[in-house]
Symmetry: C2
Subunit: 398 residues, 2 copies
């Protein structure tokens, strides 16, 4: 097993155990701790409805420091009133007593079904066992324990040099339905041993999220439990990054690489997905237009089922752009499936269907729309829509 996730940076221990929240007996509770206090930052769901574990983390992370994170799958701990808040507090308190830190230093994540309370006896047993099995090779088990309908666990890491020291960034993430920009049903934790100021860690995370996690869409739904957290414990021993100079840029660039790798894994493992689709828009009038058009296309069930059917139905892509709310001149638009031009100046071309079919058979497909109007380009990653999406989501709660 390669140690490539949250335990790849120095000074992080993790574990993942099965405490019985998942009916199938799979791992469902992850613990990650830093040996010393780590600088922390987070980004949270934009949904008006928010899970109780997420609310705890959003509140406590304001101190900008954390020691540990406990994440359970199998139950979202959401829509439960004061009981949900109390259970979150209990979870943090119980873990903190083992770790020997304050409860406020324990961040939380919960993912799963909404409206059912956490089974606190199971959670406590799980925390006991997770604490007892913490290891600097345990990232893989933690990544497994946060999975819901994910078909594979998601880890990524990257090593760089800053100030003559080796810096490692490691991360894990889970999806895989309710994935859409501005935090979908995802939980991701990124760890690093870099020394950096709280302000710049926060700034780096926000900058990177907008080019990675906020650029994926599985079904257009965003959930009440989505969060991205980063912890930086400084154990690499570099001079603390305090300004936006070259060290900061080197760090951000590596953080972006890890984040994009995780984000693309989330899109590729969208529920029932058989393909990773990258939608690109070019020469839009402004940033907002690019964003609206990408979102409309990536969310369209008609576009996504056509990709599943390997059908070069570019009319649906054009149609989705047309109802995105952006006013553009349709007579300027070129559309490409892979390298193949299928529409020029808004008019369909009689393209080689065999060539289109070869492109659409691939696991990863790039679609490009060129609006030939302004200076703004952007991209989003999404997936196709299959029978299995319906199967998975028709019976998730039961």
């Amino acid at each position: 097993m390669i140690n490539k996730g949250v335990t790849s940076p120095k000074g992080f221990l993790a574990s993942g155990v099965a405490c019985g929240l998942k009916k199938n007996g799979n791992k469902d509770l992850a613990m990650i701790i830093s040996e010393n206090d780590a600088v922390a930052a987070g980004i949270f769901t934009t949904n008006v409805v928010k899970g109780h574990s997420l609310l705890w983390t959003r509140d406590k992370i304001k101190s900008r420091y954390a020691r540990a994170m406990v994440i359970n799958s199998g139950c979202a701990n959401a829509c439960l009133g004061s009981r949900g808040d109390n259970d979150a507090a209990q979870m943090a308190l119980y873990a903190s007593s083992l770790i020997n830190c304050s409860p406020e230093q324990v961040l939380l994540g919960s993912t799963g079904v909404i409206g059912f309370p956490l089974e606190m006896d199971k959670i406590k047993h799980g925390i006991d066992e997770a604490f007892a099995t913490l290891s600097n090779q345990g990232g893989f088990h933690a990544a497994q324990a946060i999975m819901t309908t994910d078909t594979f666990s998601k880890e990524a890491s990257k090593t760089i040099e800053i100030d003559g020291k080796t810096i490692t960034i490691g991360g894990m993430a889970k999806g895989s339905g309710m994935i859409h920009p501005n935090m979908a049903t995802m939980i991701s934790l990124i760890t690093t041993d870099v020394a950096i100021s709280p302000e710049l860690l926060d700034k780096a995370l926000k900058a990177v999220a907008n080019k990675s996690f906020n650029r994926i869409s599985v079904d257009g739904d965003t959930s009440v439990c989505d969060q991205l957290v980063i912890m930086a414990n400084g154990q690499a021993g570099n001079a603390t990054i305090n300004s936006e100079g070259s060290d900061y840029k080197t760090f951000v660039s590596a953080l972006l690489e890890v984040s994009i790798t995780l984000a693309k894994m989330l899109a590729k493992d969208g529920e029932g997905a058989t393909k990773l689709i990258e939608i690109r828009v070019e020469h839009c009038d402004n940033k907002e237009s690019a964003h609206l058009i990408l979102n409309a296309i990536a969310k369209s069930p008609l576009v996504k089922t056509a990709f599943f059917g390997q059908d070069a139905n570019w009319g649906r892509i054009f149609t989705a752009a047309g109802y995105s709310g952006v006013s553009f001149n349709p007579d300027l638009v070129d559309i490409f499936i892979g390298e193949l031009m299928v529409c020029k100046n808004g008019i369909g071309l009689s393209f080689d269907e065999g060539k289109a079919s070869d492109i659409l058979k691939k696991d990863e497909i790039v679609v490009t729309l060129d609006f030939k109007s302004g200076q703004f380009s952007d991209r989003i990653w999404t997936c196709d829509f299959s029978y299995d999406y319906v199967k998975i989501n028709g019976s998730y709660r039961s």
Copy 2:
């Protein structure tokens, strides 16, 4: 066969024929004519991309009078540049020469795949045959000829009395994917023998559309060919409705009834649908909030697959409301599936799953969210999301 569609009012003839645009040999060209010039009004897609036949109709209807409408299925006549415009003009010209009116009096509709040109030889043969078979019992054939993936043809009619005269309103519509507020992939023609001024006919149509056709959603996509047209030929002999008095109100009320009947048929026949779902929101702060919340819920693939799976997963409904863009207090929200309360003040109840299951097994389900805040209520009709949606749309073009 009951004459309940577009030929139920006096003075309208219709026909539907197979001219070879559909590969399976089904009917694909409808013609509807009024014996005399009819007052006409229309509402057209809000999509930036618009089909050529639709653009013809949108332009010609500005005269506020029409004699006939020709609608083909099997080809959208969209995204074809000047060729598409010329084909539309040809279609109207050819029909007008048979009907003996000006081409501008022939309205057009086309629905089907985007980007492939109309086969004009087939269209002309179809128009010949359709003209030869016009009948005052032909509404049913016309309703069949405009179907694409619809599983049943959609007709409705209503008879009222105004000014001592019997007034009939008849209509037909087709769906059934790309259905979403502001004209989805639908074409609907409503005919009536009422005598009414052009201004009031236009006003009545707009008022009614916002409570019927603009309140259905199948998959959130709106197409480039969506239109709703009404023709009123005055053959009932009532004194022309020229003011918004009681006669106008009687007419609007009947028109609404016909429109809601057709709209609900469209939602119920959403591609692959097994259920009609009515989503109601109550006590919202304003009209726009109600609208945004309804749209988010009706579009959510997670909500729609849960209905297909007969799963009382109200958390997804609440989640969709939460990301609708509306800021509401989640701690006030009550949610009902049928009559069964499943969430009170934002907190999940431990409801009777057997009762929920009985409700969810039905063909028609009402879901209500009460925000207990303002004075605004609204509703939308949608359907569930099944394997067959994926099947139908994964291979539509081929």
